[in-house]
Amino acid sequence: MAQSGRREPAPAGDICAHRRCTLGYSFRDATLIPHLALPHPGRTAVRMNATSGHHVLPVSRLGDLFSALRSAGWNLAGPRIRDGAIVYDELETAADLPAGWTDEQAPGKYGLKKRGDGALFGYVVGPHSWKKYLFPPTVRMWSATKTADGMEVEVPQPAAPPTAFIGVRACELAAIAVQDKVFLGSGFVDPVYKARRDNIFLVAVNCGQAGGTCFCSSMNTGPKARGGFDIALTEILEDGHRFLLESGSERGERLVALLAAPAASDADRSAADAAVARAVSMMGRTMETSGVKELLQRNYEHPRWDHVAARCLACTNCTMVCPTCFCSTVEDVPNLSLDRSDHVRTWDSCFTSDFSYIHGGSVRPSVKSRYRQWMVHKLSTWHDQFASSGCVGCGRCITWCPTGIDITEEVREIRASDGANT
């Protein structure tokens, strides 16, 4: 199986059986170091103060990190090229990473091109986000079955293949923290999200460059990961292609220890700082966030909404690519013999007219009201609901908007004519 190239995701609850068939695969097996418990899936990350300092790993040894994770039972998911974009998908080895590629992004524009160097993380974020793993686009929530004595409900044990996310950007860590509040921290717990969230290992990558639609600096979420990861990497290209390693959890620290990577020098550290500083200086967009919550809520009636409605196609792209958008709908799918019906949850978007339908009609029939709902929610009422912004500044909604609507520009325009009347 390990030799076959592609691994099936481990069935939940059967991780160790799966592991046995991949044992012997890897490098210095941690089972040889009995006093060091492996960072095994299912064990929750414990926050710790980074006391271990930074380590440095040459690019040739990145594969060791991958192998160590796989030996510990983690499936790997990370960036790779598909259909002309960098998406998140299963990774086998470090060779699957889009080495030497970068992306060019602008409002309504996305393209890949060669960099001219061997950078493995030399691009920013693509159309996918990690929410597809934690909050799956389609998931069966439960099924109702007709039996001799009536109806029965079957709730599936949520599938949660242990997955190490490789290359999680700072804005994406922030997005995961935002969705944590929605699905775990607001009174009710979503069992699907929780099962998956409890079974991931987070390998962050600090951005060494920013894209044309990036504005994480404005949203105070990046480009450097400040927590919420197990390990954070900074890719250094100058004077020897290498990675600075920082652990953010005990299990991250144990994994770094397994790699026996040398301690980072001052030169390594300042090179990593320079990479992040370069990303800050390249930030493609800015958004003035001071008072934006109040600004938007006092401008529900503003001519700019008509302006944006004239460009918005209500295509839902922005909500699909957004790493924090959490809306969903449910559909009942009965089988042909009508003795079983699956209750299936799928991503939904506030841009559809069905979204707000109540008997008789839609509450938001106009595109104007739907764009307004999305943007005011994202930047303003999200604060009321979850005590944070719903925007992390990743820029996806700008890049993937077919007409190039730019949320930072919309805020700027409303701010410039605060209080204008329709």
């Binding site: 929530m141 109702a144 409900v153 929605v182 709908t329 449910v330 209750h343 707000s356 104007k368 929610h377």
Partner: protein, 276 residues
């Protein structure tokens, strides 16, 4: 790894329909038998599941003092609610709940209460009426003002008479009637003008179509009732009832979780905004 309790928030429990009564041409009251007591507060709702069709949010319209019985009054407006209304005794329906906030009945004790209902909006108010009648002496003057489209669409007619005998000033009006109707004709807000509604320690509970609530609140405030003593019950599309699906957002509010019953003062500023 996952607790059933967590899963249970999103998965229904099937209950048997024990009774079904036709209220109006398109409106039925269903009685279900919970396995254990089903305590709820007046104004709360359940997600009701019909096999093969899906779930819909329906207010609970039974007596909170009789938690051994679960009562829903449903109007058949779409495929799902039509199938729901067709559920005969013995059929099984999935139930999740109860969810949401409730009418502040206890807070209203010691003063007058005005209940203003429009159309099927009487159903979510009925548990509040039961609660008030159970301790009628705790309240001052209690007035129920109810507007319906026509005499044929007046809900719970027999009960309205019973409530009038039990010490509630019940006034019913319809939008249109022929000469056989002996009652009021006109909008429900005109009843507010006619009834002995006074300010002071009066609490008002309003439930009906949004437009009707808008006019009712306006009449009540003209009578001097402050907007924090007026409660309204809001309605929006709902898929999950626990704040996950995003459908029921109303400005900063999740109607499923922060509502459906709101002090009007809390949402007053949203009421004016179109297509929110």
């Amino acid at each position: 790894m996952e607790t059933r309790a967590d899963a249970g928030v999103l998965a229904p429990e099937f209950l048997r329909v024990t009774g079904r009564r036709k209220e109006l041409a398109d409106t039925w009251t269903l009685e279900l038998e919970p396995r254990a007591e089903f305590p709820f507060r007046p104004g709360q709702f359940n997600m009701v599941y019909v096999f093969g069709f899906g779930e819909v949010a329906i207010s609970i319209s039974g007596d909170p003092a009789a938690p051994g019985k679960l009562v829903h009054t449903v109007r058949a407006v779409g495929k799902l609610t039509t199938a729901l209304c067709a559920s005969k005794a013995g059929a099984q329906l999935g139930i999740r709940g109860p969810f949401g906030t409730s009418w502040p009945v206890d807070e209203a004790a010691g003063g007058d209460v005005v209940l203003v209902a429009g159309g099927l909006g009487l159903a979510p108010l009925r548990p509040a009426v039961y609660r008030i009648l159970a301790e009628r002496e705790k309240f001052g003057r209690v007035t129920l003002l109810y507007g319906a489209r026509s005499p044929e669409t007046v809900l719970y007619r027999a009960e309205l008479r019973r409530w009038a005998r039990a010490g509630i000033d019940v006034r019913v009006t319809v939008d249109a009637a022929d000469a056989r109707w002996r009652g009021n004709v006109g909008v429900v807000t005109r009843l507010i003008d006619q009834a002995a509604v006074t300010a002071g320690a009066t609490a008002a509970f309003v439930c009906g179509p949004e437009i009707m609530m808008r006019f009712a609140v306006s009449s009540l405030t003209q009578r001097g009732i402050p907007t924090d003593r007026i409660s309204v019950s809001m309605e929006r599309n709902m898929k999950c009832a626990v704040g996950f699906c995003g459908h029921c957002q109303y400005g900063p509010e999740f109607i499923c979780r922060d509502g459906p019953v709101f002090p009007f003062r809390r949402i007053e500023h949203l009421f004016r905004i179109r297509e929110l």
